[in-house]
Symmetry: C2
Subunit: 361 residues, 2 copies
């Protein structure tokens, strides 16, 4: 099978080894299909526990934090994080770095909070990360989106503050080292660097559980519910958790998050260097805020778009079309994407430039 | 591979053909793994649309209803159904037929409704279905649990009323013919007769959407959000929807719901006849309310439990242990369980009775 080069933004590429082991388990996992085992079975309890432990190992999660695999994606996470961190002032700060941050802001309000957008890059179509803003101590929490999949920006350094931090890390968790202790809640839809679509990871500081000022948190939305039941309050998404566990095993066997970070840096450098040196292309974001996960770029002459689209399509690349709100191209380069695929894309860009040498830029 | 006889309550058995096709798709689905395709790809849009259409075909869903595949299971469905059906009186009626009904009642309250339990079988450990109660017209809706997995009871006929009906059909949807037009919302966790754990089906009357009196429905919990986006508001659980589609194809190719109902009736008759004629065993539920999905029974002499447990364990049966709140045994016989497996269990029960002939009952 000649595999395609999957630059899709998500659901996205996972390691081939994960696909192979998951495929086998669908047919036979200790005599049953993984799809028909009880979540209360010894087999699945072990899977859930190993997946939780691997998250702790991969991110050096300190004592006093719990790891949960829930459902509803980051879209429900927006609400869950706001409801659970609702404090005595019922007031939250949000940093607006793109479409997903805006959705988080909306759910902050739906969690009955007064919401202030304390910084925003909406003025320039989110092509940079706001910096230098202050965070008033009266906020119950401050919310970040670490990586902005659509726009190709990434927070390199989180501001220092005594206000509890919560971060949606859907599109860059496990891609670089983070200090979990800096956050009260980290959450992430699985379908980038963790596993297939269908589960959302929460890493939550135990001491915040049960302290929400929200008048009436529904049972499923209360992280305390899930923490008390070891992430087994109701039937978890068994297969998505299983694949996440396989993927985390693969990560740990390949240098852990530090190893992935090194590989991601090399991939990003390779592609950004080409974008910056190729006469036909240019990046769309402030250089210091460029994401290592989602590389957004355009052709300076957009009349060449169709021709370039045809070129990469024919060359076995999928998922390179930019989001409609940015246009151009987006190369999502999650952990499982090999540098060979990036080199393949870079070669095509060079070939395209050679062909159009002399085309006015 | 000598397959086990899977009588598990859920996640549970699905057809072998589904496992085989799903296993292949994890390795290769049009050149990518099904686990790495974008939910916005043409391939997945087709899967989602086919899955929705198959639900409509299987249940003869009338015009004016939408089919949605969400996340969070029935546990989130309790809340979603209550919030979306909250009406001008902010008052709802619930029929309490077991542990899951009780959880639904709790979330009705969390949806800021006044909740009346208008009928209950809690007095007899839920071993029957309450009947003959009246439903006041002032209620915004009345909530039912069609099949009670733990206790082995099933509503055979829903009461006539002008009050909008909502039903959690997690454990018997697609097992028998229903009249969808009788309900404003039907919801069901997938992991019995629909697919693997990880998605929840909603069938919702379009005319109720957007009419909730709830002051502040969060975006994910508003069915209108999902209906407007064709169940693609956020990343759906791609693989769970895909497997559900495969399973529904298999259902339709095997006589549809009518065919499944006939097979389920035969399986239930076979096992209940054995329970009623075997001197060692007895059923735990009122005969007229017995579930065709989950058959609960006990040994009259429970000192024989260990020996019978050893017998079925050694005979390749899994999942027959009764829920702790009922004890004894529970044979879950979802659509995919073959009558041969039921015959195998019946043979063991006969063998056990022969061995203990003369044991005082």
């Amino acid at each position: 099978m000649s595999k395609k080069h999957n630059f899709g933004a998500g659901p996205c590429i996972l390691p081939q080894e994960v696909f192979e082991e998951a495929s086998k388990a669908v047919l036979d996992f200790n005599g049953l299909s993984i799809l028909e085992i009880s979540h209360r079975s010894e087999d699945f309890v072990q899977i859930m526990e190993e997946a939780q432990q691997l998250v702790k190992d991969a991110l050096n999660v300190p004592e006093g934090y719990s790891v949960l695999f829930l459902q509803g994606g980051a879209s429900l996470g927006f609400l869950i994080s706001a409801m659970n961190l609702s404090g005595s002032n019922k007031k939250a700060a949000y940093v607006n770095t793109g479409a997903w941050a805006k959705k988080a802001i909306k759910e902050g309000k739906n969690a009955d909070l007064e919401v202030d957008v304390i910084a925003s890059s909406e003025d320039k179509n989110y092509n940079y990360i706001p910096k230098g803003y202050s965070i008033d101590e009266s906020y119950d929490f401050v919310h970040f989106t670490s990586n902005n999949t659509i726009y190709g920006t990434q927070i390199k350094e989180f501001p220092q503050t005594s206000v509890p931090k919560v971060c949606d890390m859907s599109s860059d968790i496990f891609s670089r080292e983070i200090n979990v202790a800096d956050f009260d809640i980290i959450y992430a839809g699985a379908q980038k660097n963790l596993g297939p679509a269908g589960t959302a990871l929460f890493i939550v500081k135990d001491s915040i559980l049960g302290n929400s000022s929200h008048s009436n948190i529904p049972t499923y939305l209360n992280l305390k519910t899930h923490q008390e039941k070891g992430s087994m309050f109701n039937t978890p998404p068994v297969f998505a958790v299983y694949c996440s566990m396989l993927n985390l095993r693969h990560l740990m066997a390949n240098g852990g998050v530090a190893g992935a970070a090194e590989r991601n840096k090399a991939k990003a450098e390779l592609l950004y260097n080409e974008i910056d040196s190729n006469p036909l292309f240019e990046g769309t974001c402030a250089v210091e805020d460029r994401s290592e996960m989602n590389v957004t770029f355009v052709l300076k002459d957009d009349s060449l778009n169709d021709e370039f689209n045809a070129l990469w399509n024919e060359a076995g690349i999928v998922g390179l079309k930019g989001h409609r709100s940015v246009g151009g191209f987006r190369a999502s380069m999650y952990n499982a994407l090999k540098i060979d695929s990036v080199q393949h894309l870079v070669n095509l860009m060079k070939e395209f430039a050679t062909k159009h040498a002399g085309t006015p830029a």
